[in-house]
Amino acid sequence: MTRPIIIDTDPGIDDALAIMLAAASPEVDLLGLVAVAGNVGLDRTAPNAAALADLLRLDVPVGRGSALPLWRTPTHASQVHGENGFGGYELPASTRVLEPGVPLLARLIEQSAEPVTVVAIGPLTNIAQLMNEHPATARKIERIVLMGGGTLDVLGNATPTAEFNIWWDPDAAVRVFGFGVPLTMVGLNATHQALVGPQHLPRLLASGGPVAKMVEHLLSGYQDSHHEQGAGMAQHDSLALAAVLDPAVITTRHLYVDVENTGRRTTGMTVVDYLGRWGEPNCDVAFEVDVERFRALLDSRLSVLDASLKEDR
C-alpha cells in the first residue's frame, strides 16, 4: 500500500534530491509539492519546485506558500544554495499555474482517502499556518516528518544552537512541535552523518540522463556548512525522505522536544530531552544513520528514475 505524502519545501539543493527520491519511490504517492521561502526567497523556491515537477514529469499540483516567517525578519542561505537555489543550475522555467500553498495543503489532506504524511524539509511556516487556519484538517495529518533542529553533538548550523529551518521561523516551529500531530525530527546530529559525494552515486552518474546531470552539478555547487574532504556533503532533506521510505535508515528515540523562541542567543534551538527525564515525549528524534543503506537507496532509486526519464525523451 502506498503512503500518500506531501512535500513542503524550499528548493534548495538538498530539497531537489529529496524530491527526486520521492518521485523515484513506489512506496509513496506524492500528492503535491508546496513551496515556502527559506534557503532562498519564495520568488525562487516556488518556480524551482515547479521546474523540478516538470523535470520529473510529476503530474501533481504545486503550491506557492509563505514568503515570510510568521512575524520575524527573513533571511536566506544563498551562500549555501547559490543565488538561484540550485547552485547555478538552470532548469527550464515552468508554465504551471501555482496554487496558493496553504489552501492546497488543506485540500490535499482533506481529499486523501488515506491519512497523509507531510514531509517538511524547509521552514515550517506553511505547516503552522495550516494549523492556525485549518486546525481540524491539520489534525488529520498522520505524521509530520521534518528536517530540522539538532541535538547533542550537532545543535546548530545557522547559529551555534539553531539549525536553519527552525531558526528561520522559530515561532512556526513552536506551533508545529506543540500541536499534537505525531512528529519525526530528522536533525543535524543525524543528517551530518548522511554524507554523499559523487563517488557514492555511481549508477546514477553512469546513467547520464537529466537527473544525473542535475545531481552532478548540485553536488559540486553545494557549499554546506558540513562537508568532509572527499567524504561528501550532508544530504539533510533526502535523509528525511529516506526515513519515510525505509525506516531502517535511521534509529529514533521517543523524546520531549521544545523549541526556544524567546531566547536572546538560543532562539531556534530544538531543546531535546535527550535523557528522557524532563517531560512527556512528543517526538521521534533521529539519532543513528545507516549511511551505506542511505547511499545505496539514493543511488538505486535515482538511477532507475533517471533511466525512465531518458527513455521518454
Binding site: 551562500q79 549555501v80 545557522a158 551555534p160 557549499q223 558540513h226 523562541n261 531566547g263 542567543r265 538560543t266
Partner: protein
C-alpha cells in the same frame, strides 16, 4: 607554582578538586572560598572544613555567597545528598573560617599579590567571582587566568540545555565570560570524559590511608547517584579537571570560541552558547553567530585520562604522606 584560589561548593567532585589543589606540588593554594550550589552555604562551608580536616589541608577558608545574584537559591540534593557530601564520614572542623566574605577574600588576595600571578578556579556557581568583580573591578586585569568548571557546548544536566553551575547563576556566568580576562571553560563535554573508573579507583585504593578511604567513599556515593540519575557506570570527576589544567596544560586540548550565556530563553536559560572559531559556515549567517565572533574563551575538548589520573593519584599520595 601556580597560585590559585579555589571557589567551590563541596560537593563530591569539589572535594576531589580540593585534594588535587592542596596535594599537587605545582599548585600554591592561597585559599578556598565557598559558594551555595550543590547545597546551602552553611552545608558546603561545613563540608569544605571537613575535607580540610580529613586531608590535613591548612589554608584560609572563607564563606561566600548564600544566594545567586538575582534568582532564588537551588541545590542539587539528588546528586550530593542532604549534607551536600553524603557518603564519607565528615570530621569536625580543625580550624575557624577566615572572617571575611569569600568575595572580599578574593579581592584582597588578588590585589595583594603581583599582577598576573593569581588564577581563579570557580567550580561551583560563579556568584562569588561576579561579586568580587563588582567590589573591585581592577581584579579583572590583575588575575592571571580563570579556569571554570561549568557549561557545555552540546548538552545540559539540570535542564536539557543547561549545566548546573551556569543554571544556578546565569547572570554571574555571563559576567565572568564577558569580562576582559583569560577564561578556560571546562564543561560537561570534557568532564564526562573524566570518569573515576575502576582503574583510577584501584590506584587510589592501593595508596591506603584515610584520604584514600575518603575519596573512595566520595566516589561510591556519587557513583550511585550518577548511576540512578544519568545511567553513568562511573561518576565524572568534574571539578578536579579545572585544577588539573593549571598543573599540566597538556591534560586536555582546547579550542577557541565565543561564549555567551542565555539569560532569557523559556527553555534555555543557563545555556552556554558556544560559537567555535573554527566552525565552518557559521560566521556569515545573520544574527547570533555574526555577533559572537570574539573568540576569547578556551573550551576544553579532549581529556588525556591517563595524565589526569596520574595527577589525582599523586596528589592524594602526597597529602597522605604529609599526614604521617
Amino acid at each position: 607554582m601556580q597560585k590559585i584560589i579555589l571557589d567551590c561548593d563541596p560537593g563530591h567532585d569539589d572535594a576531589i578538586a580540593m585534594l588535587l589543589a592542596a596535594g599537587s606540588p605545582a599548585i600554591e593554594l592561597l585559599g578556598i572560598t565557598t559558594v551555595a550550589g550543590n547545597q546551602t552555604i552553611e552545608k558546603v562551608t561545613r563540608n569544605a572544613l571537613a575535607v580540610c580536616a580529613v586531608a590535613g589541608i591548612r589554608v584560609p577558608v572563607a564563606r561566600g555567597a548564600a544566594v545567586p545574584l538575582v534568582t532564588p537559591q537551588m541545590v542539587a540534593e539528588d546528586i550530593h545528598g542532604d549534607s551536600g557530601l553524603d557518603g564519607p564520614v565528615l570530621p569536625a572542623p580543625a580550624f575557624d573560617l577566615d572572617p571575611r566574605h569569600g568575595a572580599q577574600f578574593i579581592v584582597d588576595t588578588v590585589m595583594a599579590h603581583d599582577a598576573g600571578t593569581v588564577s581563579l578556579v570557580p567550580v561551583g556557581p560563579f556568584t562569588n567571582i561576579a561579586l568580587a568583580m563588582r567590589l573591585e573591578p581592577r581584579i579583572v586585569e590583575r588575575v592571571k587566568s580563570v579556569v571554570v568548571m561549568g557549561g557545555s557546548y552540546m548538552r545540559g544536566n539540570v535542564t536539557p540545555g543547561a549545566e548546573f553551575n551556569i543554571y544556578v547563576d546565569p547572570e554571574a556566568a555571563e559576567a565572568v565570560f564577558r569580562a576582559d580576562w583569560d577564561v578556560t571553560m571546562v564543561g560537561l563535554d570534557l568532564t564526562h570524559q573524566a570518569l573515576a573508573d575502576a582503574g583510577l579507583q584501584q590506584r587510589v585504593r592501593d595508596l591506603g590511608g584515610p584520604i584514600s578511604e575518603f575519596a573512595l567513599a566520595v566516589w561510591d556515593f556519587v557513583g550511585s547517584t550518577y548511576k540512578r540519575q544519568y545511567e553513568f557506570d562511573h561518576p565524572p570527576v568534574h571539578d578536579a579537571c579545572s585544577v588539573a589544567a593549571l598543573i599540566d596544560p597538556a591534560v586536555f586540548t582546547t579550542a577557541r570560541a565565543d561564549v555567551r550565556v542565555e539569560l532569557r530563553g523559556e527553555w534555555t536559560r543557563g545555556t552556554t552558547v558556544v560559537n567555535f572559531a573554527n566552525a565552518p559556515g557559521m560566521h556569515h549567517s545573520n544574527g547570533t553567530a555574526l555577533e559572537q565572533t570574539d573568540f576569547r574563551t578556551n573550551i576544553a575538548m579532549r581529556l588525556d585520562h591517563a595524565r589526569f589520573s596520574d595527577l589525582v593519584v599523586d596528589a592524594i599520595a602526597r597529602l597522605t604522606a604529609a599526614l604521617t
